[in-house]
Subunit: 352 residues, 4 copies
């Protein structure tokens, strides 16, 4: 799967500001670049002479069966890429048996997205605003519409410094408004986040959110073992190791670097997922070998969506599946539960 | 804050020799390049789910309250960049609530600079000449004019080898003479330093200087823990980890590398500051997390001064503040005293 | 020996698809590039003042005397490079006293190749198809034709993802059909491997193959000590540390990284060979110092074959011999059995 | 001192083959490039507040006083660079108070070189030919002409593979014949070395050479502690850590990497020198801090010779002196005997 080529193709179709918004990171984009580089730098130590006549990528996510351990990350304003936006993404994910996470900043409503694939697994990503009644409403709607979990994003306490976006501003066209929120103060994204997002989230926020519904809570956006352990102790069912794709704190550790300490701290008490720079089946193998149960993929889904709508999304997910199946076979590991950390060679052995 | 863009803009305004003088380093400029690279290479391990509704960048420097832990470094001949030179810099710093350090090689007098912002915090940087009566006079004037500390620079025992300056010589225009010194022997900078600077400074120099006034003494220009500890034992109130911006001994360790050993050796007995290559709010976070109480910034101030005078200086300082506030929030650390070394991930984990 | 120049020359003669097929790797070609880089990064610690008046590169491979510890790796469809294909390669190897390994995917028959140099040492490489009678037939023919060992390739359980080949497809010309196999299902290489290769090889496959003939069994394609030890315990006479030239699992460890753990695990119970990126006499010295008994060379042989047929193959092998003789002398090691691991300096000492 | 500029200037004056001969290394020139890079990568930890009013670069080499710890390395056929060749080099060295080593492959005679500066310190470098009477004659002549030591080169057992020279062949002009040797068999350098050099030097060669004269013996060309210790135990007065400027065994360890283990193994029983890539005063400081008593410099001397004859050689040596004096002062170390290993920061601290 040639994702670099797909990105070039999508870039050709997108308004420059939209491409900058999708592709960019914060400050000097050090972390945005470090994420894929960190996965790539890890080396695999494959097994041979194991029967790989039958390979399966199936797993469960908080008990829900999925056909592959690759989720669609929550991403804002997908109608910038394709007129069908989140509806197409959900269709593509459902077609591939993959779980999709819908963003609070979606351009389609919670209910519309649920309707396009009622039986497909899907979760709802939540930003908590200063006005807590907004979160209450969103969680209630997600629960009613059959979403299987709430994914609370915790790494956006304040608006980031995305200089690429400042150099190539996004002019929001018609039809990409936020479908699930009332009109809020703030001229642009920075102001809207700064004025409306609650910068005072704490572990008590987890307690409160757990009380809003029966849905399990996934906490997304941590890079430290101690933070992850605290979330689990407050009842998080899963955590996502993430630096928001390098779009929040620049020079934050890459997710490949952070994953092992989070896995160790969680110690099996919750599921651990990871996102950021996962571009190949071998990256998925590495993440799962290091203890993640699944990965989330963001920008590649946007390139698929931009170039081909629902079919484009499905093609990207099927590309991950095809690569993952092949790579599992080449690693001598026919099922995901047989992946173990010794498949990954830490770099630096012999200095290479 | 796009400092690279600001530097390009300033370069367009400066006479080539002046730009080479401001921007250059010594020999092959290995250390000048290593300084910013070393900060950038460090990775942050931010906390999440901490209340960052109120973030403060305020601190004190030797007991003097300042609004942010970023000082204006002492820099020579600022009228090369702007007709108002050090007067504009002091105005800009005062406007931002930041402390500015005036260089012995200023092109405005100690008293003039004090007059533009009588209440603003400011320190005086001292070069010691072979004729010790010069230092005695300068210290007395600084004390009389309300400067709060003497910053003794100790890393200029002999003139450096700045090959960039030799290739692009600076022709001193009218009006950039040294306002606080009598005419001294020596055709150019090299000769003047070589003929006039005292190459025999020792720890006894600290004892002598402390006797000249009531002002606390800051010793600037060390890269080793043992040297720093000796200064503190001779009564230094603070030390500055510095390699003179890579302008003295090329291939000296970067300041990010040297900071931890100095912090450990000083062991809380004095304040520790650091300069060299600090270009982002995240760099400030890293320096303070590793034990510095504040940082000094040099070249970016010159680019602001060149492009916009006092307002340009203030814009740069406000840029640091804005980034620092955001980065503290994104690190989950609302006040500077909560920064600790475990926010910094040493590179090399997983080889990344 | 300027192999980069030879490759450029060969590239000029080859149809682009054939060059992509010979030169390419899998996915992003990370491992294909890492192989030569890993050897190059190792440093030698030569001895001086040792008598190197007589230097010998002679050794034995499973008891068979050869004039140098460089074997011709098994490579498919050599008639893409030269009309005489594998026949020329065998002639060139024989002329140099080197052992050549014939691929199951040869374009000349097992018997024809044997006939061109009846007394030269040669081994037969085996792919095991789902139809096990094919392997039975191939092994019987190899034994009857005087091949000295069977080299079982175990790292091609499923077809790889060679994106370079997809971008520059190979159109198979007349005359490069597989001479030793019946027509098999599958339009292209991917399909043929996927449909026909047995993905269920295990250690029992070794037991079965050992029973098919008296020939010793070499297992090729491992990167882990545990896998190598298991093969030896099932009777393998030798193992080849290999990642298939970076053509199977991308981001697999380089062979230079993997060699030491395999040597340690085999512990002298079998011979260990290594391939992948060995381009200089010094690379051969490093591999043998780290415990390999011999190396296999692939792509450089193809460039020699393409440019000069049998003579070109012999020139490449003689180039390795000339470099190896010189490098042994410059290391102060006149015979191969005196090579030891302390000739290799692990990188990173002094950070260099 | 801008040696890169000087090299460009010399390159413009030299016939391309002569430049390739002077500048090139062996194989891929990995070691030739690694030598300067390894020094540059080391970082200095300078002291401050030490009295450096008087700095001295003076030392002794085997008891002979010299004004700086930088020797002229033995280099062949210097008349390729300048009509006065070795005579000019000796004049330049004498003018600078530096010791020069004359090569066996000089284009001026042992006696002529001695005559140009009878009182200047100078040593004679020896290649041992198969015909040992040649060495006997050379040593006798060197002793008679007042050379102070014999420098035996031990890393040229066989001719190297200098591919740059093969691509840009040197056509020897008139007047650059070897002045101290009889006509010997061999068309070109490779053949001459291969046919005439003794490849069987051992520790006994040291014993034999020591008996030929009263001159102390320096053994040049080792990279290992064990080899150095053995030479010292056989009576070597000094050893030179050297890889022949990267011109013999490519991918040999850089000399900066090898120096510490040689210093440790020699343990003060002999003097240790080092060459290879020393291009700055800071490199000299690093080498001496790590335990070398002096360094040898080669190619920069050739560039000075080519551009300016004796004056050019002296300018280069004075450039090293000027940089070394400055760098010692900036390190707070006024005399060479106060240099110690803790001035050097091993790379990798904080990953930088």
């Amino acid at each position: 799967m040639d994702l670099a080529q797909l990105e070039r193709q999508a870039r050709g179709k997108l308004e420059p500001g939209a491409y900058a918004y999708f592709a960019g990171g914060t400050d000097d984009e050090v972390t945005a670049a470090a994420n894929p580089a960190a996965w790539r730098r890890l080396r695999l130590r494959p097994h041979v002479l194991r029967d790989v006549g039958e390979v399966s990528t199936a797993t469960t996510l908080l008990g829900t069966p999925v056909s592959l351990p690759v989720m669609v990350a929550p991403m804002a304003r997908q109608r910038l890429g394709h007129p069908d936006g989140e509806l197409a993404t959900q269709r593509g994910a459902a077609g591939s048996g993959a779980l999709a996470v819908l963003s609070t900043h979606a351009t389609a409503s919670i209910e519309e997205v649920a309707a396009v694939a009622p039986d497909a697994p899907r979760w709802f990503q939540l930003y908590v605003h200063r006005d807590h009644s907004l979160a209450e409403g969103l969680v209630a709607r997600a629960a009613a519409a059959g979403y299987g979990a709430v994914v609370l994003t915790v790494d956006l306490a304040v608006p980031p410094n995305r200089e690429r976006e400042l150099r190539t501003p996004l002019e929001l066209p018609e039809g990409v408004g936020l479908a699930n929120l009332p009109p809020l103060a703030g001229e642009d994204v920075r102001e809207r986040v700064g004025s409306n997002f609650d910068p005072s989230l704490t572990l008590q926020t987890i307690d409160w959110l757990r009380g809003l519904s029966e849905l399990p809570l996934v906490v997304k956006g941590m890079l430290r073992g101690d933070d992850a352990a605290a979330c689990v102790e407050h009842g998080a069912a899963a955590v996502v190791v993430s630096n928001h794709g390098g779009r929040q704190l620049d020079s934050a550790v890459s997710t490949a670097e952070a994953l092992p300490e989070v896995v160790a701290a969680v110690a099996g008490r919750a599921e651990v997922y990871v996102d950021g720079g996962i571009r190949r089946g071998t990256d998925v193998v590495k993440a799962l070998a290091l203890g993640a149960r699944a990965v989330l993929v963001g920008r590649p889904i946007l390139w698929g969506l931009t170039c081909g709508g629902a079919a484009g999304v499905r093609d990207v997910l099927e590309g991950y599946r095809e690569e993952l199946e092949r790579d599992l076979a080449l690693c001598g590991v026919p099922t995901l539960d047989q992946l173990s950390a010794d498949l990954v060679a830490m770099p630096g052995r012999l200095g290479t």
